[in-house]
Symmetry: C2
Subunit: 193 residues, 2 copies
């Protein structure tokens, strides 16, 4: 391989990476603003300023477009731990509620659940949700373990996720606080000082 060819490859790689980043960002915007049904090759191509052929070449199936959109989800914002478990849990759930509204996590969760029969989607979903739960898992591990820890994580995630998915509404501050207090009162282990 000659240096010229290497330069050509590098330029080509950069172009592909730029296209991927552009299309990914637009696809996520379509998904959250307009819903899954609007996430078609034609619509995304038009908004991103690429040809439909380019999109079909790199991402032939609709599930590829959805996976590409999920790629654009950045790091979710999390509560910086203060050491006060109650405040940290409330803060983390408040960040989760904010992310539901800002990133339309109800739509993202729904579309991932719906395409989970595709292995790659199940993998991406599990990874995104595992990462998203890491901070709250770490906090709750101070006072729970085993099946209680698993239950407490689902319960606190549920306080935000259930009304979101089931009623399209996020919980008020006082419901989040009540949930955290309920979980902490139910812990058999003493809080670390």
């Amino acid at each position: 391989m000659t240096p010229v060819e290497r330069t050509g490859d590098a330029a080509q790689d950069a172009r592909v990476a730029r296209t991927r980043a552009d299309v990914s960002r637009v696809a996520l915007k379509v998904l959250t603003d307009e819903g899954t049904d609007a996430l078609t090759h034609g619509h995304v191509a038009e908004l991103a300023g690429y040809s439909k052929t380019t999109l079909y070449t790199h991402w032939p199936a609709r599930v590829d477009l959805i996976l590409l959109a999920l790629d654009a989800i950045g790091e979710m914002p999390h509560q910086d731990p203060t050491g006060d478990l109650r405040a940290d849990l409330i803060g983390e759930l408040t960040f989760f509620r904010r992310a539901v509204l800002d990133y339309r996590l109800d739509q993202i969760l729904a579309v991932m659940a719906q395409w989970a029969s595709v292995d790659e989607m199940a993998r991406v979903r599990d990874q995104l949700n595992t990462e998203a739960q890491l901070p709250i898992r770490g906090m709750l591990a101070a006072v729970f373990d085993g099946v209680e820890l698993e239950a407490a994580i689902s319960m606190l995630a549920g306080v935000v996720a259930c009304p979101t998915i089931m009623f399209g509404a996020v919980p008020e501050d006082d419901v989040i606080e009540a949930a955290v207090d309920l979980v902490l009162r139910g812990s058999k282990r003493k809080r670390p000082s």
Copy 2:
């Protein structure tokens, strides 16, 4: 209107009702077995043995087909209350878990969340979820009220719904039991004897 015409109308009404029931059942089966993307007029018409034209006449949009599928969801099975709050809550969550598997509630919840920008879908979703939560709301009302009651309902629903939606997995018995115990330990009100 003459008697003959009334007979004709009645026969016509019966035919429409039968068509609706047939198509509704098939549409729900497609939705749960194959997912939303398979829920097209052509596919449902073929499986139900009606013409595509008939389907388009009665249910012109795809969201109409989805709403029709949701029509076929019958009464969800619920725990018969025994008076033992802990046992009743565990029983109810176990029924919920069974329903998730039998009716693919993860897919149903996902598709309702996804189409909730359509007013009629939001209405149907709110109604289905409100009805589904009634028994557990009644049970928890014995030991909680106000924001604590709302929090406890979302938390116990979350123990089944969160792993379902987020990881495509239902909780084991011991996680359900841990969640119920955690909530009951957290209740400030004495259990009614």
